[in-house]
Protein backbone atom coordinates (compact mmCIF):
# COMPACT_ATOMS: atom_id res chain seq x y z
CA UNK A 1 0.00 0.00 0.00
CA UNK A 2 1.66 3.22 -1.08
CA UNK A 3 0.88 6.66 0.27
CA UNK A 4 -0.33 7.79 -3.15
CA UNK A 5 -3.08 5.20 -3.15
CA UNK A 6 -4.98 6.80 -0.23
CA UNK A 7 -8.27 8.08 -1.69
CA UNK A 8 -8.32 11.87 -2.05
CA UNK A 9 -11.20 12.41 0.37
CA UNK A 10 -9.27 10.61 3.13
CA UNK A 11 -5.98 12.33 2.44
CA UNK A 12 -7.78 15.69 2.42
CA UNK A 13 -9.11 14.98 5.89
CA UNK A 14 -5.64 14.04 7.07
CA UNK A 15 -4.10 17.18 5.59
CA UNK A 16 -6.77 19.35 7.18
CA UNK A 17 -5.97 17.94 10.63
CA UNK A 18 -2.20 18.04 10.21
CA UNK A 19 -2.31 21.69 9.13
CA UNK A 20 -3.73 22.70 12.53
CA UNK A 21 -2.28 23.29 15.99
CA UNK A 22 -3.16 20.57 18.55
CA UNK A 23 -5.97 22.52 20.19
CA UNK A 24 -7.55 23.42 16.85
CA UNK A 25 -7.50 19.77 15.84
CA UNK A 26 -9.98 19.13 18.65
CA UNK A 27 -12.20 21.88 17.23
CA UNK A 28 -12.09 20.23 13.82
CA UNK A 29 -12.95 16.88 15.39
CA UNK A 30 -15.91 18.62 17.04
CA UNK A 31 -17.01 19.94 13.66
CA UNK A 32 -16.92 16.41 12.28
CA UNK A 33 -18.88 15.28 15.33
CA UNK A 34 -21.60 17.83 14.60
CA UNK A 35 -21.68 16.77 10.95
CA UNK A 36 -22.39 13.09 11.53
CA UNK A 37 -25.39 12.56 9.23
CA UNK A 38 -28.72 11.33 10.53
CA UNK A 39 -29.61 7.82 9.39
CA UNK A 40 -31.56 7.65 6.12
CA UNK A 41 -35.27 7.03 6.65
CA UNK A 42 -35.08 3.42 5.47
CA UNK A 43 -32.59 2.44 8.20
CA UNK A 44 -34.03 4.47 11.06
CA UNK A 45 -36.17 1.70 12.49
CA UNK A 46 -33.75 -1.14 11.91
CA UNK A 47 -31.49 -1.45 14.94
CA UNK A 48 -31.15 -5.13 14.01
CA UNK A 49 -28.95 -4.21 11.04
CA UNK A 50 -26.47 -2.30 13.12
CA UNK A 51 -23.38 -3.66 14.82
CA UNK A 52 -22.15 -2.26 18.11
CA UNK A 53 -18.51 -1.19 18.11
CA UNK A 54 -17.68 -2.47 21.56
CA UNK A 55 -14.13 -1.13 21.48
CA UNK A 56 -15.45 2.42 21.72
CA UNK A 57 -16.03 3.95 25.13
CA UNK A 58 -19.59 4.96 24.27
CA UNK A 59 -22.44 3.30 22.43
CA UNK A 60 -21.77 3.55 18.71
CA UNK A 61 -23.42 1.41 16.06
CA UNK A 62 -22.45 1.01 12.41
CA UNK A 63 -23.92 -0.52 9.28
CA UNK A 64 -22.16 -0.90 5.93
CA UNK A 65 -24.05 -0.87 2.64
CA UNK A 66 -22.63 -1.73 -0.77
CA UNK A 67 -25.20 -0.52 -3.29
CA UNK A 68 -26.11 -1.71 -6.80
CA UNK A 69 -23.41 0.51 -8.31
CA UNK A 70 -20.82 -1.27 -6.14
CA UNK A 71 -20.40 1.86 -4.02
CA UNK A 72 -19.60 1.80 -0.30
CA UNK A 73 -21.74 3.65 2.26
CA UNK A 74 -21.23 3.74 6.03
CA UNK A 75 -24.03 4.62 8.45
CA UNK A 76 -23.34 5.28 12.11
CA UNK A 77 -25.17 6.42 15.22
CA UNK A 78 -23.64 7.65 18.47
CA UNK A 79 -25.10 9.82 21.22
CA UNK A 80 -24.57 13.59 21.34
CA UNK A 81 -23.01 13.14 24.80
CA UNK A 82 -20.17 11.21 23.17
CA UNK A 83 -18.75 13.79 20.77
CA UNK A 84 -15.36 12.12 20.36
CA UNK A 85 -16.86 8.85 19.19
CA UNK A 86 -19.28 10.73 16.93
CA UNK A 87 -16.32 12.60 15.47
CA UNK A 88 -14.42 9.39 14.73
CA UNK A 89 -17.47 7.88 13.03
CA UNK A 90 -18.08 11.06 11.04
CA UNK A 91 -14.49 11.13 9.74
CA UNK A 92 -14.89 7.60 8.43
CA UNK A 93 -18.36 8.25 7.01
CA UNK A 94 -17.09 11.29 5.10
CA UNK A 95 -13.76 9.73 4.21
CA UNK A 96 -15.05 6.40 2.93
CA UNK A 97 -18.47 7.14 1.46
CA UNK A 98 -18.63 6.66 -2.30
CA UNK A 99 -15.50 4.54 -2.56
CA UNK A 100 -15.46 1.07 -4.06
CA UNK A 101 -15.26 -1.89 -1.68
CA UNK A 102 -11.72 -2.54 -2.93
CA UNK A 103 -10.68 1.02 -2.09
CA UNK A 104 -12.14 0.71 1.40
CA UNK A 105 -10.28 -2.55 2.02
CA UNK A 106 -7.06 -0.91 0.81
CA UNK A 107 -7.21 1.90 3.39
CA UNK A 108 -4.26 1.35 5.73
CA UNK A 109 -5.33 0.00 9.12
CA UNK A 110 -3.25 2.69 10.79
CA UNK A 111 -5.05 5.57 9.07
CA UNK A 112 -6.54 6.67 12.45
CA UNK A 113 -3.02 6.98 13.90
CA UNK A 114 -1.87 9.09 10.95
CA UNK A 115 -4.19 12.10 11.16
CA UNK A 116 -2.46 13.90 13.99
CA UNK A 117 -4.93 13.17 16.79
CA UNK A 118 -2.92 10.80 18.95
CA UNK A 119 -1.46 13.66 20.98
CA UNK A 120 -4.62 15.78 21.22
CA UNK A 121 -6.94 12.87 21.91
CA UNK A 122 -4.55 10.17 23.26
CA UNK A 123 -3.53 6.88 21.63
CA UNK A 124 -5.93 4.85 23.76
CA UNK A 125 -8.97 6.76 22.54
CA UNK A 126 -7.77 6.55 18.92
CA UNK A 127 -8.15 2.79 19.22
CA UNK A 128 -11.89 3.39 19.01
CA UNK A 129 -11.52 4.74 15.48
CA UNK A 130 -9.29 1.82 14.51
CA UNK A 131 -12.05 -0.53 15.65
CA UNK A 132 -14.62 1.39 13.60
CA UNK A 133 -12.43 1.03 10.52
CA UNK A 134 -11.71 -2.66 11.14
CA UNK A 135 -15.39 -3.50 11.64
CA UNK A 136 -16.37 -1.52 8.54
CA UNK A 137 -13.87 -3.51 6.50
CA UNK A 138 -15.15 -6.77 7.93
CA UNK A 139 -18.71 -5.84 6.96
CA UNK A 140 -17.51 -4.98 3.43
CA UNK A 141 -16.01 -8.47 3.14
CA UNK A 142 -19.24 -10.02 4.37
CA UNK A 143 -21.32 -8.04 1.86
CA UNK A 144 -19.06 -8.61 -1.16
CA UNK A 145 -17.19 -11.84 -0.51
CA UNK A 146 -13.93 -10.02 -1.28
Amino acid sequence: MTEEALPAQLSDIREDFLALEQRDRLQLLLEFSNELPELPERYRDHPDLFERVVECQSPVFIFVEVDAENTFHLYATAPRESPTTRGFASILVQGLDGLTPEQVLAVPDDFPQSIGLTQAVSPLRIRGMSALLARSKRQVRERTGL
Binding site: L26, Q27, L29, L30, S33, R52, V54, E55, C56, Q57, S58, P59, R80, E81, S82, P83, T84, T85, G87, Q119, A120, V121, S122, L124, R125, R127, G128, A131
Partner: protein, 301 residues
Amino acid sequence: MSIALDPAPKFAEYAHPERLVSAAWLQANLDTDGLVVVESDEDVLLYETGHIRGSVKVDWHTELNDPVTRDFIDPTAFAAMLSEKGISRDSTIVVYGDKSNWWAAYALWVFTLFGHADVRLLDGGRDNWVAEGRELTTERPQVTPTAYPVVERNDAPIRAFRDDVLAHFGNPLIDVRSPEEYTGARTHMPAYPEEGALRGGHIPSAASVPWARAAADDSTFKGRAELDAIYKGEAGLSEGDNVIAYCRIGERSSHTWFVLTYLLGFEGVRNYDGSWTEWGNAVGVPIVLGTDPGETPQARR
Protein backbone atom coordinates in the same frame (compact mmCIF):
# COMPACT_ATOMS: atom_id res chain seq x y z
CA MET B 1 -8.59 32.52 51.24
CA SER B 2 -11.26 29.88 51.39
CA ILE B 3 -14.72 30.40 49.98
CA ALA B 4 -17.72 29.79 52.23
CA LEU B 5 -18.97 26.22 52.28
CA ASP B 6 -22.20 24.97 50.81
CA PRO B 7 -24.55 24.65 53.82
CA ALA B 8 -26.84 22.09 52.10
CA PRO B 9 -28.31 19.79 54.80
CA LYS B 10 -27.48 16.68 52.74
CA PHE B 11 -23.76 17.49 52.91
CA ALA B 12 -23.87 18.04 56.68
CA GLU B 13 -24.41 14.28 57.10
CA TYR B 14 -21.06 13.53 55.49
CA ALA B 15 -17.78 13.43 57.36
CA HIS B 16 -16.31 16.29 55.28
CA PRO B 17 -19.11 18.51 53.94
CA GLU B 18 -16.48 20.99 52.76
CA ARG B 19 -15.60 18.66 49.87
CA LEU B 20 -18.93 19.00 48.05
CA VAL B 21 -20.94 21.80 46.50
CA SER B 22 -24.39 21.68 44.94
CA ALA B 23 -25.29 22.98 41.50
CA ALA B 24 -27.28 25.82 43.13
CA TRP B 25 -24.28 26.84 45.24
CA LEU B 26 -21.96 26.78 42.23
CA GLN B 27 -24.37 28.81 40.13
CA ALA B 28 -24.51 31.45 42.87
CA ASN B 29 -20.72 31.49 43.27
CA LEU B 30 -19.56 31.45 39.66
CA ASP B 31 -18.25 35.00 39.94
CA THR B 32 -16.75 34.67 43.41
CA ASP B 33 -13.10 35.67 43.55
CA GLY B 34 -10.72 32.81 44.19
CA LEU B 35 -12.96 30.12 42.68
CA VAL B 36 -11.83 28.11 39.66
CA VAL B 37 -14.17 25.57 38.11
CA VAL B 38 -12.53 22.59 36.38
CA GLU B 39 -14.28 20.19 34.01
CA SER B 40 -12.74 16.73 33.70
CA ASP B 41 -14.48 14.18 31.50
CA GLU B 42 -13.95 10.80 29.98
CA ASP B 43 -14.82 12.21 26.56
CA VAL B 44 -12.08 14.62 25.55
CA LEU B 45 -14.45 16.75 23.42
CA LEU B 46 -17.36 17.14 25.80
CA TYR B 47 -16.02 20.39 27.26
CA GLU B 48 -15.85 21.87 23.75
CA THR B 49 -19.53 21.07 23.15
CA GLY B 50 -20.44 23.27 26.11
CA HIS B 51 -19.22 23.78 29.68
CA ILE B 52 -20.09 25.73 32.80
CA ARG B 53 -19.33 29.41 32.26
CA GLY B 54 -15.74 30.25 33.17
CA SER B 55 -14.66 26.65 33.70
CA VAL B 56 -11.33 25.33 32.44
CA LYS B 57 -10.73 21.82 31.13
CA VAL B 58 -8.33 19.22 32.48
CA ASP B 59 -7.97 16.04 30.43
CA TRP B 60 -6.92 12.92 32.35
CA HIS B 61 -5.21 11.26 29.39
CA THR B 62 -3.23 14.15 27.97
CA GLU B 63 -2.68 16.38 31.00
CA LEU B 64 -2.58 14.31 34.20
CA ASN B 65 -0.53 11.35 32.96
CA ASP B 66 3.15 11.52 32.17
CA PRO B 67 3.44 10.96 28.44
CA VAL B 68 6.32 8.48 28.78
CA THR B 69 6.54 6.85 32.21
CA ARG B 70 3.45 5.16 33.61
CA ASP B 71 2.97 7.72 36.35
CA PHE B 72 1.35 11.06 36.98
CA ILE B 73 2.97 14.26 35.79
CA ASP B 74 5.88 15.62 37.82
CA PRO B 75 5.78 18.73 40.02
CA THR B 76 7.13 21.03 37.29
CA ALA B 77 4.53 19.89 34.77
CA PHE B 78 1.77 20.14 37.37
CA ALA B 79 2.77 23.70 38.28
CA ALA B 80 2.92 24.69 34.62
CA MET B 81 -0.50 23.19 33.90
CA LEU B 82 -2.22 24.87 36.85
CA SER B 83 -0.52 28.20 36.10
CA GLU B 84 -1.73 28.05 32.52
CA LYS B 85 -5.27 27.39 33.74
CA GLY B 86 -5.25 30.35 36.08
CA ILE B 87 -5.24 28.32 39.29
CA SER B 88 -3.33 29.56 42.34
CA ARG B 89 -2.18 27.52 45.31
CA ASP B 90 -4.92 29.14 47.42
CA SER B 91 -7.69 28.86 44.82
CA THR B 92 -10.87 27.03 45.71
CA ILE B 93 -11.23 24.45 42.93
CA VAL B 94 -14.58 22.86 42.11
CA VAL B 95 -14.25 19.87 39.77
CA TYR B 96 -17.13 18.40 37.80
CA GLY B 97 -17.40 15.90 34.97
CA ASP B 98 -19.38 13.29 33.09
CA LYS B 99 -20.35 9.80 34.28
CA SER B 100 -21.21 10.65 37.88
CA ASN B 101 -17.96 12.57 38.36
CA TRP B 102 -15.86 9.48 37.76
CA TRP B 103 -13.06 11.40 36.02
CA ALA B 104 -13.65 14.50 38.11
CA ALA B 105 -12.89 12.43 41.22
CA TYR B 106 -9.72 11.18 39.54
CA ALA B 107 -8.59 14.75 38.83
CA LEU B 108 -9.41 15.71 42.42
CA TRP B 109 -7.33 12.81 43.69
CA VAL B 110 -4.35 13.79 41.52
CA PHE B 111 -4.64 17.41 42.70
CA THR B 112 -4.60 16.03 46.24
CA LEU B 113 -1.34 14.16 45.53
CA PHE B 114 0.14 17.63 45.06
CA GLY B 115 -1.44 18.84 48.28
CA HIS B 116 -3.83 21.36 46.77
CA ALA B 117 -5.80 22.21 49.91
CA ASP B 118 -9.25 23.32 48.79
CA VAL B 119 -10.57 21.12 46.01
CA ARG B 120 -14.24 20.13 45.96
CA LEU B 121 -16.59 18.14 43.73
CA LEU B 122 -19.82 19.41 42.20
CA ASP B 123 -22.38 16.89 43.49
CA GLY B 124 -24.05 15.25 40.49
CA GLY B 125 -21.41 16.49 38.06
CA ARG B 126 -22.13 17.54 34.53
CA ASP B 127 -25.23 15.37 34.04
CA ASN B 128 -27.08 16.77 37.02
CA TRP B 129 -26.13 20.35 36.10
CA VAL B 130 -27.68 19.79 32.68
CA ALA B 131 -30.68 17.92 34.13
CA GLU B 132 -31.43 20.91 36.35
CA GLY B 133 -31.67 23.01 33.21
CA ARG B 134 -28.57 25.08 34.01
CA GLU B 135 -26.66 26.74 31.22
CA LEU B 136 -23.58 25.58 29.37
CA THR B 137 -21.53 27.80 27.07
CA THR B 138 -18.99 27.15 24.32
CA GLU B 139 -17.23 30.44 25.08
CA ARG B 140 -13.63 29.92 26.18
CA PRO B 141 -12.90 31.61 29.50
CA GLN B 142 -10.48 34.53 29.71
CA VAL B 143 -7.71 33.04 31.81
CA THR B 144 -5.05 35.11 33.51
CA PRO B 145 -2.07 32.81 34.00
CA THR B 146 -0.83 32.44 37.57
CA ALA B 147 2.47 31.35 39.11
CA TYR B 148 1.48 28.06 40.73
CA PRO B 149 4.43 26.91 42.86
CA VAL B 150 6.37 23.75 42.12
CA VAL B 151 5.41 21.46 45.01
CA GLU B 152 6.58 17.90 45.57
CA ARG B 153 3.99 15.23 44.94
CA ASN B 154 3.32 13.38 48.17
CA ASP B 155 2.12 9.93 47.13
CA ALA B 156 2.39 7.98 50.37
CA PRO B 157 -0.75 9.16 52.23
CA ILE B 158 -3.30 8.42 49.50
CA ARG B 159 -1.58 6.28 46.87
CA ALA B 160 -0.66 2.60 47.11
CA PHE B 161 1.89 0.78 44.98
CA ARG B 162 2.00 -2.97 44.33
CA ASP B 163 4.36 -3.64 47.24
CA ASP B 164 2.07 -1.65 49.53
CA VAL B 165 -0.79 -3.95 48.56
CA LEU B 166 1.30 -7.07 49.22
CA ALA B 167 2.15 -5.67 52.66
CA HIS B 168 -1.48 -4.71 53.29
CA PHE B 169 -3.00 -8.22 53.40
CA GLY B 170 -5.04 -8.62 56.56
CA ASN B 171 -6.50 -5.14 56.07
CA PRO B 172 -9.52 -4.43 53.89
CA LEU B 173 -9.30 -4.10 50.11
CA ILE B 174 -12.17 -2.82 47.99
CA ASP B 175 -12.42 -3.89 44.35
CA VAL B 176 -14.62 -1.33 42.59
CA ARG B 177 -14.74 -2.99 39.15
CA SER B 178 -17.75 -4.69 37.59
CA PRO B 179 -18.75 -8.14 38.90
CA GLU B 180 -17.51 -9.70 35.62
CA GLU B 181 -14.05 -8.24 36.14
CA TYR B 182 -14.03 -9.27 39.82
CA THR B 183 -14.82 -12.90 39.12
CA GLY B 184 -12.30 -13.10 36.30
CA ALA B 185 -14.89 -13.64 33.57
CA ARG B 186 -13.33 -10.65 31.81
CA THR B 187 -10.30 -8.42 32.22
CA HIS B 188 -11.86 -5.13 31.13
CA MET B 189 -15.08 -3.21 31.63
CA PRO B 190 -18.16 -4.35 29.76
CA ALA B 191 -18.31 -2.34 26.51
CA TYR B 192 -14.84 -0.89 26.99
CA PRO B 193 -11.67 -1.59 25.07
CA GLU B 194 -9.41 -4.40 26.12
CA GLU B 195 -6.48 -2.78 27.86
CA GLY B 196 -4.45 -5.86 28.28
CA ALA B 197 -4.28 -7.92 31.43
CA LEU B 198 -2.92 -11.44 31.18
CA ARG B 199 -4.94 -12.79 34.09
CA GLY B 200 -8.50 -12.23 35.27
CA GLY B 201 -9.81 -12.24 38.81
CA HIS B 202 -9.28 -10.14 41.93
CA ILE B 203 -6.75 -9.49 44.65
CA PRO B 204 -7.34 -12.07 47.42
CA SER B 205 -9.60 -10.90 50.26
CA ALA B 206 -10.90 -7.85 48.33
CA ALA B 207 -14.60 -7.08 48.75
CA SER B 208 -16.50 -6.29 45.58
CA VAL B 209 -18.29 -2.92 45.60
CA PRO B 210 -18.69 -1.53 42.05
CA TRP B 211 -17.88 2.18 42.22
CA ALA B 212 -21.17 3.43 40.75
CA ARG B 213 -23.12 2.04 43.69
CA ALA B 214 -22.15 5.23 45.53
CA ALA B 215 -24.03 7.33 42.97
CA ALA B 216 -27.79 7.81 42.79
CA ASP B 217 -29.68 7.76 39.49
CA ASP B 218 -29.25 11.52 39.09
CA SER B 219 -25.44 11.13 39.44
CA THR B 220 -25.35 12.80 42.88
CA PHE B 221 -23.85 10.88 45.79
CA LYS B 222 -26.21 8.71 47.77
CA GLY B 223 -27.06 9.88 51.28
CA ARG B 224 -24.96 8.97 54.30
CA ALA B 225 -27.23 6.17 55.54
CA GLU B 226 -27.26 4.41 52.18
CA LEU B 227 -23.48 4.69 51.83
CA ASP B 228 -22.96 3.37 55.36
CA ALA B 229 -25.17 0.39 54.52
CA ILE B 230 -23.11 -0.42 51.44
CA TYR B 231 -19.57 0.07 52.72
CA LYS B 232 -19.90 -0.68 56.43
CA GLY B 233 -22.79 -3.12 56.13
CA GLU B 234 -22.25 -5.17 52.98
CA ALA B 235 -18.52 -4.68 52.50
CA GLY B 236 -17.83 -5.02 56.21
CA LEU B 237 -15.64 -1.97 56.75
CA SER B 238 -15.35 -0.72 60.32
CA GLU B 239 -14.33 2.64 61.68
CA GLY B 240 -10.57 2.92 61.93
CA ASP B 241 -9.93 0.48 59.07
CA ASN B 242 -6.95 1.04 56.82
CA VAL B 243 -8.40 0.60 53.30
CA ILE B 244 -6.95 0.28 49.80
CA ALA B 245 -9.26 0.62 46.78
CA TYR B 246 -8.41 -0.44 43.23
CA CYS B 247 -9.96 -0.90 39.81
CA ARG B 248 -8.32 -1.19 36.39
CA ILE B 249 -6.14 1.93 36.14
CA GLY B 250 -7.16 3.78 39.29
CA GLU B 251 -9.86 6.04 37.91
CA ARG B 252 -13.02 4.37 39.18
CA SER B 253 -11.31 3.73 42.52
CA SER B 254 -10.62 7.48 42.85
CA HIS B 255 -14.37 7.88 43.06
CA THR B 256 -14.56 5.28 45.84
CA TRP B 257 -11.52 6.85 47.52
CA PHE B 258 -13.48 10.13 47.62
CA VAL B 259 -16.53 8.41 49.11
CA LEU B 260 -14.59 6.55 51.80
CA THR B 261 -12.36 9.50 52.70
CA TYR B 262 -14.64 12.52 52.55
CA LEU B 263 -18.17 11.20 52.80
CA LEU B 264 -17.66 8.37 55.31
CA GLY B 265 -14.59 9.74 57.09
CA PHE B 266 -12.13 6.84 56.82
CA GLU B 267 -8.57 8.01 57.42
CA GLY B 268 -5.58 6.91 55.40
CA VAL B 269 -7.54 5.40 52.49
CA ARG B 270 -5.21 4.74 49.55
CA ASN B 271 -5.92 4.30 45.87
CA TYR B 272 -3.88 1.60 44.12
CA ASP B 273 -3.70 3.15 40.65
CA GLY B 274 -1.54 0.36 39.23
CA SER B 275 -4.73 -1.63 39.76
CA TRP B 276 -5.66 -4.57 37.58
CA THR B 277 -3.60 -3.52 34.56
CA GLU B 278 -0.56 -4.01 36.82
CA TRP B 279 -1.71 -6.79 39.17
CA GLY B 280 -3.21 -8.87 36.36
CA ASN B 281 0.12 -8.79 34.53
CA ALA B 282 2.52 -9.05 37.47
CA VAL B 283 4.56 -12.20 38.00
CA GLY B 284 4.01 -14.10 41.22
CA VAL B 285 1.22 -12.13 42.87
CA PRO B 286 -1.78 -14.04 44.24
CA ILE B 287 -5.12 -13.91 42.42
CA VAL B 288 -8.54 -15.32 43.27
CA LEU B 289 -11.21 -16.30 40.74
CA GLY B 290 -14.95 -16.29 41.28
CA THR B 291 -17.35 -14.41 43.52
CA ASP B 292 -15.70 -15.34 46.82
CA PRO B 293 -13.09 -12.89 48.20
CA GLY B 294 -10.82 -15.84 48.92
CA GLU B 295 -8.32 -16.52 51.67
CA THR B 296 -6.18 -13.70 52.95
CA PRO B 297 -2.54 -14.29 52.03
CA GLN B 298 0.31 -13.66 54.43
CA ALA B 299 1.35 -10.02 54.26
CA ARG B 300 4.70 -9.62 52.48
CA ARG B 301 6.83 -6.94 54.02
